[in-house]
Amino acid sequence: MANLGPAYYAPYPVATYDGLLTPPEGKAMLLTDIVDEEVAMREVARVMLTSDNATIFPGPQVLYAWSEEAKKKATLIKEMSEVLNAKMIPMYDYRPKYPKIDPEVEINPNHPNLTIWHNNIKAAIFIGVHCHYANVALKIVRSETDCYTIGMCALSGHEDAMATIRDQHAEDLARFIEIAKEVKQELGK
């Protein structure tokens, strides 16, 4: 099963070696379970609202105004951070940065754990990060931190995240925000 928590220093085992693959279309995945998207959205909202230093990591596909979809998503992600009481730390590019990153204000896919450790982040949403770099980062985070990772993906999802919701376009983010508002109210947060 997908391990939540430190697995020593190597990004092993990866989720596919536990037989986990990206969820089928129309479904989401919570740890090892394939679930309905709404179930996952509720759980993700609950985890974000109840974990210390919950953070959203927006990636290049939403940070930059390169398409109409990106512009819409930017507005929604900003709103999402407010609803979830979450901080935002950008992954603005993928380079191994020289001389080093500032983990206070940025996250880098080559050593994402630095940012998570530094800010003691216990739950995080990756959104707008290209799938390859999201997966490289999620494997490292999965093995080296106890952060609950959430892959909100516009494409097929991420089995190395603790929770993954796939095919998330602007209208889906809007729906998630509404669900998050309900969960927030239920939790009295």
């Binding site: 990866v14 390169w66 993928y94 380079r95 940065k97 001389p99 990153i101 050593h111 997966n135």
Partner: protein
Amino acid sequence: MSIKNMTKEKNWSGQKLVSTDYMLFEAPREKHFMTGSEVTKEAIKRCTVDASVSYPITPQSEAAHLIGELWAEGYVGMYFRGENEFGVMSEVAGCAMAGARTVTTTSGPGTLRAMENFPMWSGTRIPVQLILMARGINSPLTIQPDNLEVTFMLETGCMIWYAENVQELFDMTIAGFTVAEMPDVHVPIVTVVDGFFVSHTRESVMLPPDDIALMPYDPYKAPLPPIDSEMPPGRFLRDPFVMKSNYISYATHASWQWEVRSAVDRSIPYARHYLNGLAHVTGDLDAEIVFVACGTASHQAKEANRELTKLGIKSKVVKLRTIRPFPHAELLEATKSAKHIFVPEFNIVGWLEKEVTQSLYGKSEAKIIGRPRVAGGMSMPVEAILHEVLEHVNEEKGA
């Protein structure tokens, strides 16, 4: 011919765009009689291919010529002859990184000359299709069929599928682009056939009409931005020296490599769908004698199965259609009844036998026999297979 001629309904050559499901499973088909090289042309013609780079080497040259003809006829966007296979595989990588649906072909020594490129391909997550028409590798020189080269490809991080005949080559080529381009897969696909036995043999083949073609490739769904300055981040190196990242950067390289292998695994459900299963089983399902093979060796194993049936000996054939991902679950299921597993191969090292042995280790009590093995262009007569089977079975009976 220009990409500007493409509409939502038609590609630049005027073919109607259809889904892969329609192309493979629904479109009406007509019978034709052609070689593996000729059917490669027919498959590529229906795939809305942007780019191809070629280089002569027997036995794949004819397939490469015919892709060139498709370019001249306006079906393939761009095409040229590269300087050698190392160059070709790098040129192909450039095409694919720049967002083009790309195909190339090679054989034996060409594969080995190009070798450094293949892990680079998978590492940079390009969905290139390489149609590999296997032949022997030097030394000494031979142009004859022999699939030793496949063993060198096994750990490159590319998907490897193996077609038995002309029909499978056609269908796999079409499915190959589709599965390789899935956003969560997006690694190269190596579609292998045995050179000459498939490339040069004329067979009956059922083809859908040639006025339909696959939807174009969408590079903006790739797991890495295409190199075209049209997608953020604007600052983007494909691919960086990760060791220059500070702090625990070894984790990046390790994670990256795991990710490529994960991507190959993610192809399993897609491949099961488009290939109608990763393995095909024929013969007596409860047989204790099981042949596990791929390519034309599985054809010969099926012949042996028929001969054994005449002798009253039950057997079955498990034809592996994907080698990467390796169909562990299918193999285990199909060999449950087995007491003797024969792995006939067209090479001297027995790479498939090693794969089968490793996959079944601790899970099967069957004896795995890596025979017969032929190489260097030898054919695999059914008698050779029967000889191995009868020898082992009689030995056990104390005859």
